[in-house]
Symmetry: C2
Subunit: 123 residues, 2 copies
């Protein structure tokens, strides 16, 4: 599972989004134990401090919790996860429509162009 971090945006933000996404997509399951800060940092090829910063933020929002010395775990609150999934999807959709509108495409045009693009890819 590659981390695919780019340098155009703060890395700790990209890490937060990556882990959030993996949770709502079901790659991490409720109650799962996360690798340690040091392991995650190595896997993502970033400094442990950067990983720690991202994890602290995920903890602040309640998506993960830490058990002082035994490790860090995904929340077991499935409703929270489901709600987050809806929120993130809505954000992505809204962002898409705004972008397309700024380029000069109305909502229906945007959808049509997308369907056309998909057909073009799979043919």
């Amino acid at each position: 599972m590659p981390w695919n971090l780019d340098s155009d945006r703060p890395i700790f933000l990209q890490i937060i989004e990556k882990i959030q996404t993996d949770i709502v997509a079901g790659i991490y399951h409720p109650g799962d134990k996360l690798p340690s800060v040091r392991e995650l940092a190595q896997a993502a090829a970033v400094n442990p401090n950067t990983m720690q910063k991202a994890l602290s933020e995920l903890e602040r929002t309640g998506l993960v919790y830490s058990q002082r010395t035994s490790g860090r775990f995904i929340t077991e609150d499935t409703k929270m996860i489901q709600k987050l999934k809806s929120e993130l999807a809505r954000e992505v959709i809204t962002e898409f429509l705004e972008h397309m509108q700024k380029l000069g495409f109305e909502k229906q045009e945007a959808i049509e162009l997308m369907e056309q693009t998909i057909r073009g890819e799979t043919k």
Copy 2:
């Protein structure tokens, strides 16, 4: 016309995208004279150096050109503008589908959820 710059990404990149977008959306027209570096910087509330950096990059790609002392102008190459519009639209579409896929939605699901979201907004 607000600039809406956020601090999550390099400002000069956001400026580049903003001006690109305004050109392909027809807010700026081919041959139009742009405001001076200093005026643009003031309008966007950034340092002139930052604006200059963004404009230099736009110039490097050929989208604008500068006439040494009389100012900066939008390219008159309408084909280039049209091509850029298609490219940007394709990027936005691809990015959208990738994001949704990472959240666990297949292409068709993504489209359906988007249509559903639109109906929910306009009702």
